[in-house]
Symmetry: C2
Subunit: 312 residues, 2 copies
């Protein structure tokens, strides 16, 4: 990751510092990477870790990696799955405002999170959003869903849009512009992504999605290049200046987000939204900036949620 | 497009100059962009244009845009669709070795090209390949199919792989490494792209795809980043060093190719392969380097085809 990209992800941390630190259940922090991610965010003063897992393993990993966990609450649990359930329980009881993945499998954590009985479900579908720092484009560019929903149906895409709009606002984008992507800007009966894009726009017209300006379908150049928009003659308040790119499916999302990270020196900080509290799904390949960015997004999300509730 | 990317697309032209110029049916060259693309390639000596369309319109457009067409054969046709059919007939009769799209709609051109009676079908499915110059990656990186096949089935993906392998060899890649992409490197029953990737690998084991080393499924980082491969612990001759990226569908292909062009300063020259002759599907947004690159790819493809036939 180059300096440019890191800098813009770090700006999230500066924004998050304006709010009180967020109590965060760190689930199974048994390795260097998850302990360091947690410790970095705590050192910046944006989270207060609550460590959930097998106490002996947590203490051994902390000692081995020379990371101090004194002063952090430890909530014991027996194994990976029960740690995930325990972390969800803490969130349901209002004792933590976010979950952070440690060294357990994503499936074990998310299995608990999406469980109808013990999980964090709300009336929205959950979705994953990346805040991307693409050096050649304005900051932030949100890409969703590149990690959680494999082949989202229309109802899930509605939540994907709404979750991303709320996040964009929480990150400081006053009126987010949302581009729904396919392989073309034309509604094409042979391309379901373009039909769903049309439907999502109409949902926004009818107030089923609120808070942003939606348009689509677009090919990605129509969404992010004013020059390409001009050549195509597209008239749209979103075209060429999108803040949010809605992906047709997980393959397209995953390929473009990783393509931008690995081939365009971009930074990416991700978070799962739409549950009672946000969930940070960090991976081993994440940079320190990506981990901190995710934690900052959790803080800004919960601050935004609180503000919206108190304004009701 | 920056200097780096242009330079590497232009290297195709240098390669193509080693072969005799290719007679190319330019279909409906009625606007500045298609006339210039044709004229540039002719000036470089890599094609000999045969202009197909309404003669009066061709002559008027050439005069208006101050482009000399004297010395070029004109094959008259009544309208866009019959021009496309006429161009296919020239190819079937061996009078031209390539088709180049002018100002007609892609659907009108490709409708004739894929027609079972008048078109250019062979025992392979046709597919589109982009030769990408991504400044942060080795040259060339082939991406396919980002433009023609919407949701290719396994048989079509087999042709997509074979067409790209043959092209890579024609461009000078001795043993092409092909990465079949999805959203993960694991075979996941919920993700059809990963199942098809596994099947394509087995097809290669059985000689149903030849001439390259295939592996997949991969997430894109596993395909192009040796560092990501190391972190994941993946063992594969393709991982991290792929020459060809096979896309799960047109949405993923279109989004990553345009994402790299518009956000990573990449160049892209495209061509349709798998027919009797290659077809250049240029678009208004193409750079001069992209147009020349496409023409050069057509030359190199036909030279490769000829060499393969004479070696049989």
């Amino acid at each position: 990751m180059n300096a440019t990209s890191s800098n813009r992800l770090y700006s999230l941390v500066e924004q998050a510092k304006k709010f009180p630190p967020l109590k965060t259940a760190v689930v199974c922090p048994y390795d260097a990477v998850s302990l360091e991610g947690m410790a970095d965010a705590a050192r910046e003063g944006i989270i207060i870790p609550v460590l959930v897992g097998v106490e002996a393993r947590i203490r051994a990993a902390a000692e081995k990696n020379n990371i101090s966990i004194s002063g952090y609450e430890i909530v014991p649990a027996q194994d990976d799955k029960s740690s995930a359930v325990q972390a969800c329980a803490l969130a349901r009881e209002g004792k933590v405002g976010a979950l952070m993945k440690g060294s357990l499998h994503t499936d074990d954590l998310m299995g608990a999170v999406v469980d109808r009985n013990v999980g964090l479900r709300t009336n929205r579908r959950m979705s994953h959003v990346f805040a991307m720092d693409v050096p050649s484009y304005k900051w932030p560019l949100l890409i969703t869903d590149a990690a959680l929903n494999i082949a989202p149906d229309l109802e899930t895409k509605r939540s994907i849009c709404q979750n991303a709009i709320d996040l964009a606002k929480d990150l400081g984008v006053a009126e987010p512009k949302i581009a729904i992507l396919g392989a073309t800007e034309l509604v094409n009966p042979a391309m379901p992504a373009t039909l769903e894009a049309a439907c999502l726009c109409k949902m926004a017209d009818r107030g089923q999605i609120t808070g942003g300006v939606l348009d689509g379908p677009f090919a990605i150049d129509n969404a992010i290049s004013p020059e390409a928009v001009k050549i195509k003659g597209i008239k749209s308040p979103v075209a060429g200046v999108a803040d949010i790119l809605i992906m047709p499916d997980i393959e397209a999302g995953n390929i473009i987000y990783k393509g931008l990270v690995y081939l365009a020196a971009s930074g990416a900080a991700g978070i799962v939204l739409g549950g009672r509290v946000p969930v940070m799904l960090t991976s081993r390949a994440d940079t320190p900036a990506a981990r901190l960015g995710s934690a900052a997004m959790a803080v800004l999300t919960m601050a935004g949620q609180k503000a919206r509730q108190s304004s009701k």
